[in-house]
Protein backbone atom coordinates (compact mmCIF):
# COMPACT_ATOMS: atom_id res chain seq x y z
CA UNK A 1 0.00 0.00 0.00
CA UNK A 2 2.75 2.40 0.92
CA UNK A 3 6.12 2.36 -0.72
CA UNK A 4 8.99 4.53 0.40
CA UNK A 5 12.11 4.78 -1.71
CA UNK A 6 15.35 6.38 -0.73
CA UNK A 7 13.77 8.92 1.54
CA UNK A 8 16.35 11.44 2.71
CA UNK A 9 16.13 14.71 4.59
CA UNK A 10 18.90 17.19 5.30
CA UNK A 11 18.39 20.03 7.75
CA UNK A 12 21.29 22.26 6.77
CA UNK A 13 24.23 19.96 7.30
CA UNK A 14 22.44 17.45 9.48
CA UNK A 15 21.13 14.31 7.79
CA UNK A 16 18.02 13.57 9.79
CA UNK A 17 16.69 10.79 7.61
CA UNK A 18 19.08 8.81 5.50
CA UNK A 19 18.07 6.92 2.38
CA UNK A 20 15.26 4.89 3.91
CA UNK A 21 13.47 2.22 1.89
CA UNK A 22 10.33 0.65 3.25
CA UNK A 23 7.13 -1.05 2.18
CA UNK A 24 3.90 -1.30 4.13
CA UNK A 25 1.64 -4.11 2.92
CA UNK A 26 -2.11 -3.65 2.93
CA UNK A 27 -3.75 -5.17 5.95
CA UNK A 28 -0.56 -5.26 7.99
CA UNK A 29 0.37 -3.69 11.29
CA UNK A 30 3.86 -2.36 10.84
CA UNK A 31 5.98 -1.02 13.65
CA UNK A 32 8.64 1.67 13.52
CA UNK A 33 10.99 1.68 16.46
CA UNK A 34 14.30 3.18 17.35
CA UNK A 35 16.11 5.08 20.08
CA UNK A 36 14.98 8.59 20.92
CA UNK A 37 15.97 11.19 18.39
CA UNK A 38 16.39 8.59 15.68
CA UNK A 39 14.20 10.55 13.31
CA UNK A 40 10.92 8.64 13.55
CA UNK A 41 8.61 11.63 13.88
CA UNK A 42 10.58 13.45 11.18
CA UNK A 43 9.96 10.40 9.04
CA UNK A 44 6.21 10.68 9.63
CA UNK A 45 6.39 14.37 8.81
CA UNK A 46 8.12 13.56 5.52
CA UNK A 47 5.48 10.99 4.62
CA UNK A 48 2.54 13.27 5.29
CA UNK A 49 3.96 16.37 3.64
CA UNK A 50 4.61 18.46 6.73
CA UNK A 51 8.19 18.76 5.47
CA UNK A 52 9.59 18.19 2.01
CA UNK A 53 12.17 15.46 1.55
CA UNK A 54 15.56 16.38 0.15
CA UNK A 55 15.55 13.20 -1.91
CA UNK A 56 13.45 10.11 -2.38
CA UNK A 57 9.81 9.37 -3.00
CA UNK A 58 6.66 8.31 -1.22
CA UNK A 59 4.20 6.23 -3.19
CA UNK A 60 0.77 5.56 -1.74
CA UNK A 61 -1.52 3.10 -3.51
CA UNK A 62 0.49 3.47 -6.66
CA UNK A 63 0.39 7.25 -6.63
CA UNK A 64 3.45 9.45 -6.04
CA UNK A 65 2.50 11.76 -3.22
CA UNK A 66 6.01 13.00 -2.41
CA UNK A 67 5.92 16.53 -1.07
CA UNK A 68 2.15 16.96 -1.40
CA UNK A 69 0.56 19.25 1.18
CA UNK A 70 -0.67 17.52 4.34
CA UNK A 71 -4.35 18.15 3.70
CA UNK A 72 -4.05 16.61 0.25
CA UNK A 73 -2.21 13.60 1.66
CA UNK A 74 -5.04 13.22 4.17
CA UNK A 75 -7.55 13.26 1.32
CA UNK A 76 -5.77 10.25 -0.21
CA UNK A 77 -6.38 8.30 2.98
CA UNK A 78 -3.09 8.55 4.86
CA UNK A 79 -4.04 9.81 8.30
CA UNK A 80 -1.64 10.36 11.18
CA UNK A 81 -1.83 11.20 14.86
CA UNK A 82 0.56 13.50 16.67
CA UNK A 83 2.64 13.10 19.77
CA UNK A 84 2.04 16.62 21.04
CA UNK A 85 -0.98 18.63 19.86
CA UNK A 86 -3.29 15.76 19.07
CA UNK A 87 -6.62 17.23 20.20
CA UNK A 88 -8.57 20.47 20.01
CA UNK A 89 -8.37 21.49 23.67
CA UNK A 90 -11.25 23.97 23.80
CA UNK A 91 -13.75 21.76 22.00
CA UNK A 92 -15.85 19.08 23.63
CA UNK A 93 -14.84 15.50 22.94
CA UNK A 94 -17.78 15.26 20.56
CA UNK A 95 -16.85 18.42 18.64
CA UNK A 96 -13.32 17.11 18.29
CA UNK A 97 -14.71 14.25 16.25
CA UNK A 98 -17.34 16.34 14.49
CA UNK A 99 -14.65 18.63 13.10
CA UNK A 100 -12.49 15.66 12.16
CA UNK A 101 -15.31 14.41 9.94
CA UNK A 102 -14.32 17.22 7.58
CA UNK A 103 -13.46 14.78 4.80
CA UNK A 104 -16.11 12.19 5.34
CA UNK A 105 -18.60 13.32 4.39
CA UNK A 106 -17.46 16.47 2.66
CA UNK A 107 -19.76 19.31 3.60
CA UNK A 108 -20.05 22.01 0.99
CA UNK A 109 -19.76 25.69 1.84
CA UNK A 110 -23.23 26.58 0.65
CA UNK A 111 -24.72 23.55 2.31
CA UNK A 112 -23.53 24.62 5.69
CA UNK A 113 -24.17 28.34 5.31
CA UNK A 114 -27.67 28.03 3.92
CA UNK A 115 -28.76 25.11 6.08
CA UNK A 116 -29.96 23.26 3.02
CA UNK A 117 -31.72 19.98 3.43
CA UNK A 118 -28.66 18.05 2.27
CA UNK A 119 -26.59 20.11 4.70
CA UNK A 120 -28.79 19.23 7.62
CA UNK A 121 -28.84 15.59 6.59
CA UNK A 122 -25.05 15.60 6.57
CA UNK A 123 -24.99 17.26 9.97
CA UNK A 124 -27.10 14.43 11.37
CA UNK A 125 -24.91 11.90 9.60
CA UNK A 126 -21.81 13.49 11.10
CA UNK A 127 -23.33 13.45 14.57
CA UNK A 128 -24.26 9.79 14.30
CA UNK A 129 -20.90 8.85 12.90
CA UNK A 130 -19.05 10.81 15.58
CA UNK A 131 -20.97 9.12 18.37
CA UNK A 132 -20.35 5.73 16.78
CA UNK A 133 -16.61 6.39 16.69
CA UNK A 134 -16.62 7.52 20.29
CA UNK A 135 -18.42 4.32 21.23
CA UNK A 136 -15.84 2.30 19.31
CA UNK A 137 -12.99 3.80 21.33
CA UNK A 138 -14.89 3.89 24.59
CA UNK A 139 -15.15 7.64 25.02
CA UNK A 140 -18.88 8.09 24.35
CA UNK A 141 -19.54 8.62 28.04
CA UNK A 142 -17.29 11.67 27.97
CA UNK A 143 -18.77 13.19 24.82
CA UNK A 144 -19.55 16.56 26.37
CA UNK A 145 -16.40 17.02 28.40
CA UNK A 146 -14.05 19.78 27.27
CA UNK A 147 -11.08 18.02 25.76
CA UNK A 148 -8.42 19.83 27.77
CA UNK A 149 -9.90 18.40 30.96
CA UNK A 150 -9.46 14.80 29.92
CA UNK A 151 -7.00 12.48 31.56
CA UNK A 152 -3.84 12.05 29.52
CA UNK A 153 -4.67 8.53 28.41
CA UNK A 154 -8.10 9.61 27.20
CA UNK A 155 -6.56 12.48 25.28
CA UNK A 156 -4.41 10.06 23.32
CA UNK A 157 -7.41 7.84 22.65
CA UNK A 158 -9.31 10.91 21.45
CA UNK A 159 -6.45 11.57 19.04
CA UNK A 160 -6.89 8.10 17.59
CA UNK A 161 -10.66 8.61 17.36
CA UNK A 162 -10.14 11.87 15.49
CA UNK A 163 -7.89 10.07 13.03
CA UNK A 164 -10.55 7.41 12.53
CA UNK A 165 -13.08 10.10 11.69
CA UNK A 166 -11.02 10.97 8.62
CA UNK A 167 -11.77 7.54 7.15
CA UNK A 168 -8.17 6.40 6.83
CA UNK A 169 -6.91 3.67 4.53
CA UNK A 170 -3.56 3.83 6.28
CA UNK A 171 -3.58 4.82 9.93
CA UNK A 172 -0.28 6.23 11.17
CA UNK A 173 -0.05 6.33 14.95
CA UNK A 174 2.73 8.35 16.58
CA UNK A 175 3.34 6.83 20.02
CA UNK A 176 -0.29 6.10 20.85
CA UNK A 177 0.60 4.44 24.13
CA UNK A 178 2.86 7.12 25.56
CA UNK A 179 2.01 8.14 29.08
CA UNK A 180 -0.63 5.47 29.50
CA UNK A 181 -0.97 3.21 32.51
CA UNK A 182 -1.15 -0.57 32.23
CA UNK A 183 -4.92 -0.77 31.90
CA UNK A 184 -5.05 1.96 29.28
CA UNK A 185 -2.28 0.25 27.31
CA UNK A 186 -4.24 -2.99 27.26
CA UNK A 187 -7.44 -1.23 26.15
CA UNK A 188 -5.63 0.64 23.39
CA UNK A 189 -3.89 -2.50 22.20
CA UNK A 190 -7.27 -4.16 22.00
CA UNK A 191 -8.56 -1.19 20.01
CA UNK A 192 -5.69 -1.35 17.56
CA UNK A 193 -6.25 -5.09 17.11
CA UNK A 194 -9.98 -4.51 16.55
CA UNK A 195 -9.25 -1.91 13.92
CA UNK A 196 -6.86 -4.27 12.15
CA UNK A 197 -9.41 -7.07 12.25
CA UNK A 198 -11.81 -4.76 10.45
CA UNK A 199 -9.29 -4.34 7.68
CA UNK A 200 -7.24 -1.27 8.64
CA UNK A 201 -3.59 -1.01 7.64
CA UNK A 202 -1.57 0.46 10.48
CA UNK A 203 1.88 2.02 10.77
CA UNK A 204 2.92 2.47 14.35
CA UNK A 205 5.71 4.39 16.09
CA UNK A 206 6.11 3.13 19.63
CA UNK A 207 8.57 2.92 22.48
CA UNK A 208 6.63 0.29 24.39
CA UNK A 209 8.52 -2.83 23.29
CA UNK A 210 6.12 -5.40 24.64
CA UNK A 211 3.19 -3.82 22.80
CA UNK A 212 5.13 -3.40 19.59
CA UNK A 213 6.35 -6.97 19.58
CA UNK A 214 2.91 -8.40 20.22
CA UNK A 215 0.95 -6.19 17.83
CA UNK A 216 3.14 -5.83 14.78
CA UNK A 217 3.57 -8.24 11.90
CA UNK A 218 6.70 -6.50 10.72
CA UNK A 219 9.03 -4.05 12.39
CA UNK A 220 11.47 -1.53 10.98
CA UNK A 221 14.23 -0.19 13.20
CA UNK A 222 15.61 3.29 12.66
CA UNK A 223 18.73 4.67 14.29
CA UNK A 224 20.29 8.05 13.50
CA UNK A 225 18.00 8.36 10.54
CA UNK A 226 19.06 5.10 8.91
CA UNK A 227 17.13 1.88 8.64
CA UNK A 228 19.22 -0.68 10.45
CA UNK A 229 16.89 -3.65 10.49
CA UNK A 230 13.62 -4.96 9.17
CA UNK A 231 11.77 -8.14 9.95
CA UNK A 232 9.32 -10.00 12.12
CA UNK A 233 9.35 -9.36 15.87
CA UNK A 234 11.38 -12.52 16.51
CA UNK A 235 13.99 -11.58 13.94
CA UNK A 236 14.26 -8.08 15.37
CA UNK A 237 14.60 -9.21 18.96
CA UNK A 238 17.67 -11.20 18.09
CA UNK A 239 19.14 -8.78 15.57
CA UNK A 240 22.62 -7.68 16.69
CA UNK A 241 22.43 -4.19 15.18
CA UNK A 242 19.19 -3.52 17.01
CA UNK A 243 20.53 -4.62 20.33
CA UNK A 244 23.60 -2.47 19.79
CA UNK A 245 21.54 0.57 18.90
CA UNK A 246 19.44 0.34 22.02
CA UNK A 247 21.99 -0.82 24.52
CA UNK A 248 25.22 0.44 23.05
CA UNK A 249 28.10 -1.61 21.66
CA UNK A 250 29.47 -4.29 23.95
CA UNK A 251 26.17 -6.05 24.47
CA UNK A 252 25.74 -7.59 21.01
Amino acid sequence: MLEIRGLTKFFGGLEAVSNVDMTVQTGQIMGLIGPNGAGKTTFFNLLTGVIRPTRGSVIFEGEDITGKKPHNVAKKGMIRTFQATNIYPDFTVLDNIVLSCHLRPGVGFLETMLHTRSGRRKDREILDRSLAILREVGLDGLAHVTARNLAHGHKRTLGIAAALACGPKLLMLDEPLSGMNGEEVTETMKLITRLWEKGMTILLIEHNMRATMSLCHKIVVISFGKKIAEGTPEEIKAHPEVVKAYLGAGHA
Binding site: F11, G12, I51, R52
Partner: protein
Protein backbone atom coordinates in the same frame (compact mmCIF):
# COMPACT_ATOMS: atom_id res chain seq x y z
CA UNK B 1 21.57 58.57 -15.67
CA UNK B 2 24.97 60.04 -15.20
CA UNK B 3 27.78 58.37 -13.29
CA UNK B 4 27.52 61.01 -10.63
CA UNK B 5 23.80 60.51 -10.34
CA UNK B 6 24.24 56.77 -10.06
CA UNK B 7 26.81 57.11 -7.30
CA UNK B 8 24.55 59.54 -5.48
CA UNK B 9 21.68 57.09 -5.65
CA UNK B 10 23.94 54.30 -4.54
CA UNK B 11 25.01 56.33 -1.56
CA UNK B 12 21.40 57.10 -0.72
CA UNK B 13 20.62 53.42 -1.02
CA UNK B 14 23.45 52.43 1.27
CA UNK B 15 22.46 55.07 3.79
CA UNK B 16 18.90 53.87 3.91
CA UNK B 17 20.20 50.33 3.91
CA UNK B 18 22.30 51.08 6.96
CA UNK B 19 19.28 52.43 8.85
CA UNK B 20 17.03 49.59 7.73
CA UNK B 21 19.66 47.06 8.79
CA UNK B 22 19.85 48.55 12.27
CA UNK B 23 16.07 48.45 12.64
CA UNK B 24 15.76 44.97 11.16
CA UNK B 25 18.50 43.57 13.37
CA UNK B 26 16.91 45.01 16.46
CA UNK B 27 13.54 43.68 15.43
CA UNK B 28 14.95 40.23 14.70
CA UNK B 29 16.64 40.09 18.07
CA UNK B 30 13.48 40.97 19.91
CA UNK B 31 10.77 39.42 17.79
CA UNK B 32 12.34 36.34 16.29
CA UNK B 33 15.17 35.40 18.58
CA UNK B 34 13.59 36.22 21.88
CA UNK B 35 10.04 35.70 20.69
CA UNK B 36 8.78 38.88 22.33
CA UNK B 37 5.68 40.20 20.56
CA UNK B 38 7.06 43.72 20.52
CA UNK B 39 4.79 45.59 18.16
CA UNK B 40 5.85 48.88 19.69
CA UNK B 41 9.44 48.47 18.48
CA UNK B 42 8.81 51.29 16.03
CA UNK B 43 7.95 53.55 18.94
CA UNK B 44 11.28 52.65 20.58
CA UNK B 45 12.98 53.91 17.42
CA UNK B 46 10.90 57.08 17.62
CA UNK B 47 11.72 57.65 21.28
CA UNK B 48 15.41 57.26 20.45
CA UNK B 49 15.09 59.86 17.73
CA UNK B 50 13.37 62.33 20.06
CA UNK B 51 15.94 61.82 22.81
CA UNK B 52 18.74 62.59 20.37
CA UNK B 53 16.82 65.61 19.13
CA UNK B 54 16.39 66.88 22.66
CA UNK B 55 20.05 66.48 23.48
CA UNK B 56 21.39 67.92 20.24
CA UNK B 57 18.92 70.71 19.56
CA UNK B 58 17.93 71.71 23.10
CA UNK B 59 20.93 70.85 25.21
CA UNK B 60 23.50 71.41 22.55
CA UNK B 61 25.33 68.19 23.24
CA UNK B 62 27.75 66.57 20.85
CA UNK B 63 26.00 64.42 18.26
CA UNK B 64 27.90 61.23 18.95
CA UNK B 65 27.56 61.62 22.68
CA UNK B 66 23.83 62.12 22.27
CA UNK B 67 23.52 58.96 20.27
CA UNK B 68 25.44 57.00 22.86
CA UNK B 69 23.42 58.38 25.75
CA UNK B 70 20.15 57.82 23.92
CA UNK B 71 21.16 54.25 23.16
CA UNK B 72 21.93 53.54 26.79
CA UNK B 73 18.69 55.13 27.98
CA UNK B 74 16.55 53.37 25.43
CA UNK B 75 18.34 50.08 26.00
CA UNK B 76 17.56 50.49 29.67
CA UNK B 77 13.96 51.20 28.79
CA UNK B 78 13.98 47.98 26.81
CA UNK B 79 15.19 46.00 29.81
CA UNK B 80 12.48 47.58 31.93
CA UNK B 81 9.79 46.75 29.39
CA UNK B 82 10.93 43.17 29.04
CA UNK B 83 10.87 42.63 32.76
CA UNK B 84 7.65 44.44 33.60
CA UNK B 85 5.51 44.03 30.52
CA UNK B 86 6.55 41.05 28.51
CA UNK B 87 8.09 38.51 30.81
CA UNK B 88 4.88 37.45 32.52
CA UNK B 89 3.05 36.92 29.24
CA UNK B 90 5.62 34.82 27.49
CA UNK B 91 3.36 31.98 26.43
CA UNK B 92 0.39 34.16 25.69
CA UNK B 93 0.73 35.86 22.31
CA UNK B 94 -2.69 37.54 22.42
CA UNK B 95 -2.03 39.31 25.70
CA UNK B 96 1.53 40.13 24.71
CA UNK B 97 0.22 41.78 21.60
CA UNK B 98 -2.33 43.72 23.59
CA UNK B 99 0.39 44.98 25.94
CA UNK B 100 2.51 46.00 22.97
CA UNK B 101 -0.41 47.87 21.45
CA UNK B 102 -0.98 49.76 24.66
CA UNK B 103 2.72 50.64 24.74
CA UNK B 104 2.38 52.01 21.22
CA UNK B 105 -0.50 54.20 22.35
CA UNK B 106 1.33 55.34 25.48
CA UNK B 107 4.60 56.22 23.77
CA UNK B 108 2.96 58.09 20.94
CA UNK B 109 0.77 60.12 23.25
CA UNK B 110 3.59 60.96 25.66
CA UNK B 111 5.82 62.20 22.87
CA UNK B 112 2.92 64.04 21.25
CA UNK B 113 2.16 65.68 24.56
CA UNK B 114 5.71 66.72 25.32
CA UNK B 115 7.01 67.62 21.89
CA UNK B 116 3.91 68.35 19.86
CA UNK B 117 2.94 66.83 16.54
CA UNK B 118 4.91 69.02 14.18
CA UNK B 119 7.91 67.44 12.51
CA UNK B 120 11.18 68.49 14.07
CA UNK B 121 14.71 68.27 12.83
CA UNK B 122 18.22 68.78 14.00
CA UNK B 123 21.37 69.28 12.03
CA UNK B 124 23.95 66.64 11.49
CA UNK B 125 27.38 67.73 12.67
CA UNK B 126 28.80 66.44 9.42
CA UNK B 127 28.30 69.16 6.95
CA UNK B 128 30.01 69.42 3.67
CA UNK B 129 30.81 66.95 0.99
CA UNK B 130 33.49 64.55 -0.01
CA UNK B 131 34.64 64.55 -3.59
CA UNK B 132 35.27 61.16 -5.11
CA UNK B 133 35.39 60.39 -8.81
CA UNK B 134 34.26 63.92 -9.44
CA UNK B 135 31.09 63.30 -7.46
CA UNK B 136 30.02 65.20 -4.36
CA UNK B 137 28.86 62.86 -1.60
CA UNK B 138 27.34 64.33 1.52
CA UNK B 139 29.39 63.56 4.61
CA UNK B 140 26.37 63.11 6.82
CA UNK B 141 25.23 60.19 4.73
CA UNK B 142 28.64 58.64 4.49
CA UNK B 143 28.95 58.74 8.24
CA UNK B 144 25.68 56.89 8.65
CA UNK B 145 26.82 54.18 6.33
CA UNK B 146 30.12 53.85 8.16
CA UNK B 147 28.62 53.90 11.64
CA UNK B 148 25.90 51.48 10.63
CA UNK B 149 28.29 48.96 9.21
CA UNK B 150 30.72 49.34 12.06
CA UNK B 151 27.99 48.53 14.57
CA UNK B 152 27.08 45.57 12.43
CA UNK B 153 30.54 44.12 12.63
CA UNK B 154 30.65 44.62 16.39
CA UNK B 155 27.29 42.92 16.81
CA UNK B 156 28.30 39.97 14.69
CA UNK B 157 31.53 39.50 16.53
CA UNK B 158 29.58 39.57 19.76
CA UNK B 159 27.00 37.04 18.65
CA UNK B 160 29.54 34.70 17.13
CA UNK B 161 32.29 34.80 19.70
CA UNK B 162 30.86 35.71 23.06
CA UNK B 163 29.16 33.27 25.38
CA UNK B 164 26.15 35.53 25.80
CA UNK B 165 25.74 35.88 22.07
CA UNK B 166 25.81 32.15 21.57
CA UNK B 167 23.39 31.79 24.43
CA UNK B 168 20.94 34.02 22.60
CA UNK B 169 21.04 31.82 19.56
CA UNK B 170 20.67 28.72 21.70
CA UNK B 171 17.59 30.10 23.40
CA UNK B 172 15.98 31.06 20.12
CA UNK B 173 16.26 27.52 18.89
CA UNK B 174 15.54 25.47 21.95
CA UNK B 175 14.37 27.34 24.99
CA UNK B 176 14.03 24.57 27.53
CA UNK B 177 17.17 22.83 26.45
CA UNK B 178 19.07 26.05 26.83
CA UNK B 179 17.74 26.52 30.35
CA UNK B 180 18.84 23.03 31.27
CA UNK B 181 22.31 23.84 30.08
CA UNK B 182 22.50 26.52 32.70
CA UNK B 183 21.85 29.49 30.46
CA UNK B 184 20.18 32.25 32.43
CA UNK B 185 17.17 32.92 30.23
CA UNK B 186 16.03 36.03 32.09
CA UNK B 187 19.41 37.67 31.77
CA UNK B 188 19.79 36.84 28.10
CA UNK B 189 16.26 38.06 27.35
CA UNK B 190 17.05 41.35 29.02
CA UNK B 191 20.30 41.56 27.08
CA UNK B 192 18.56 40.91 23.78
CA UNK B 193 16.00 43.61 24.55
CA UNK B 194 18.80 46.00 25.49
CA UNK B 195 20.60 45.37 22.22
CA UNK B 196 17.46 45.36 20.11
CA UNK B 197 16.12 48.60 21.53
CA UNK B 198 19.57 50.16 21.51
CA UNK B 199 19.94 49.44 17.81
CA UNK B 200 16.54 51.02 17.21
CA UNK B 201 17.62 54.11 19.13
CA UNK B 202 20.80 54.45 17.06
CA UNK B 203 18.77 54.10 13.88
CA UNK B 204 16.30 56.73 15.10
CA UNK B 205 19.02 59.15 16.08
CA UNK B 206 20.84 58.74 12.78
CA UNK B 207 17.78 59.14 10.62
CA UNK B 208 16.72 62.22 12.53
CA UNK B 209 19.88 63.91 11.34
CA UNK B 210 18.90 63.30 7.73
CA UNK B 211 15.15 63.76 7.73
CA UNK B 212 12.69 65.24 10.17
CA UNK B 213 11.14 63.31 13.04
CA UNK B 214 7.52 63.07 14.12
CA UNK B 215 5.58 61.09 16.74
CA UNK B 216 4.21 58.79 14.05
CA UNK B 217 7.55 57.87 12.50
CA UNK B 218 7.58 54.62 14.41
CA UNK B 219 5.12 52.72 12.28
CA UNK B 220 7.26 53.36 9.22
CA UNK B 221 10.23 51.77 10.93
CA UNK B 222 8.26 48.79 12.13
CA UNK B 223 6.89 48.02 8.71
CA UNK B 224 10.17 48.50 6.91
CA UNK B 225 11.75 46.31 9.55
CA UNK B 226 9.26 43.54 9.04
CA UNK B 227 9.66 43.78 5.28
CA UNK B 228 13.43 43.35 5.66
CA UNK B 229 12.97 40.38 7.97
CA UNK B 230 10.48 38.64 5.71
CA UNK B 231 12.77 39.20 2.74
CA UNK B 232 15.88 38.05 4.50
CA UNK B 233 14.43 35.21 6.50
CA UNK B 234 12.62 35.16 9.81
CA UNK B 235 14.86 34.59 12.79
CA UNK B 236 18.03 35.09 10.82
CA UNK B 237 20.47 37.86 11.69
CA UNK B 238 22.39 37.65 8.41
CA UNK B 239 18.98 37.60 6.76
CA UNK B 240 18.06 40.87 8.46
CA UNK B 241 21.25 42.43 7.09
CA UNK B 242 20.59 41.13 3.60
CA UNK B 243 16.97 42.21 3.66
CA UNK B 244 17.88 45.64 4.97
CA UNK B 245 20.54 46.10 2.33
CA UNK B 246 18.32 45.05 -0.54
CA UNK B 247 15.33 47.14 0.51
CA UNK B 248 17.57 50.09 1.32
CA UNK B 249 19.11 49.97 -2.13
CA UNK B 250 15.69 49.63 -3.73
CA UNK B 251 14.30 52.58 -1.80
CA UNK B 252 17.41 54.63 -2.43
CA UNK B 253 17.91 54.01 -6.10
CA UNK B 254 14.44 53.42 -7.51
CA UNK B 255 12.91 56.88 -6.88
CA UNK B 256 15.39 58.42 -9.26
CA UNK B 257 14.59 55.87 -11.95
CA UNK B 258 10.82 55.85 -11.82
CA UNK B 259 8.05 57.83 -10.23
CA UNK B 260 7.91 57.92 -6.45
CA UNK B 261 4.73 55.98 -6.08
CA UNK B 262 5.99 52.99 -7.99
CA UNK B 263 9.13 53.03 -5.90
CA UNK B 264 7.14 52.91 -2.68
CA UNK B 265 5.17 49.93 -3.84
CA UNK B 266 8.14 47.92 -5.10
CA UNK B 267 9.20 47.10 -1.56
CA UNK B 268 5.72 45.81 -0.85
CA UNK B 269 5.60 43.84 -4.08
CA UNK B 270 8.92 42.22 -3.18
CA UNK B 271 7.39 40.91 0.04
CA UNK B 272 4.44 39.42 -1.79
CA UNK B 273 6.74 37.71 -4.27
CA UNK B 274 8.96 36.29 -1.54
CA UNK B 275 6.00 34.98 0.42
CA UNK B 276 4.59 33.28 -2.62
CA UNK B 277 7.74 31.66 -3.88
CA UNK B 278 10.16 31.36 -1.01
CA UNK B 279 8.21 31.94 2.21
CA UNK B 280 11.15 31.23 4.45
CA UNK B 281 13.01 34.22 3.07
CA UNK B 282 16.34 34.32 1.27
CA UNK B 283 18.43 33.16 4.19
CA UNK B 284 15.80 31.34 6.20
CA UNK B 285 15.27 27.67 6.84
CA UNK B 286 12.03 25.81 6.40
Amino acid sequence: MSMGGLLQSLLNGLTLGGIYILVALGLTLVLSIMGIVQISHGEIYMVGAYLVYYMVAKLGLNFFASIIIATLLVGGLGIFLERVCFRSFRGDPDRSMTIAISLTLVFQSIVLFIAGGKPLSYPSPFQGVLHIFGVAMAWNRLVIVLVGFALLVVLFLFITYSRRGQAMLAISQERDGAALQGINIDFVSALAMFLGCGLAAVAGGLIGSLFSISPTMGSFALMKGIACIILGGLGSLPGAVLGGLILGLIDGILPSLTTTHIAGLVGFATIIVILLFRPQGIWGHE
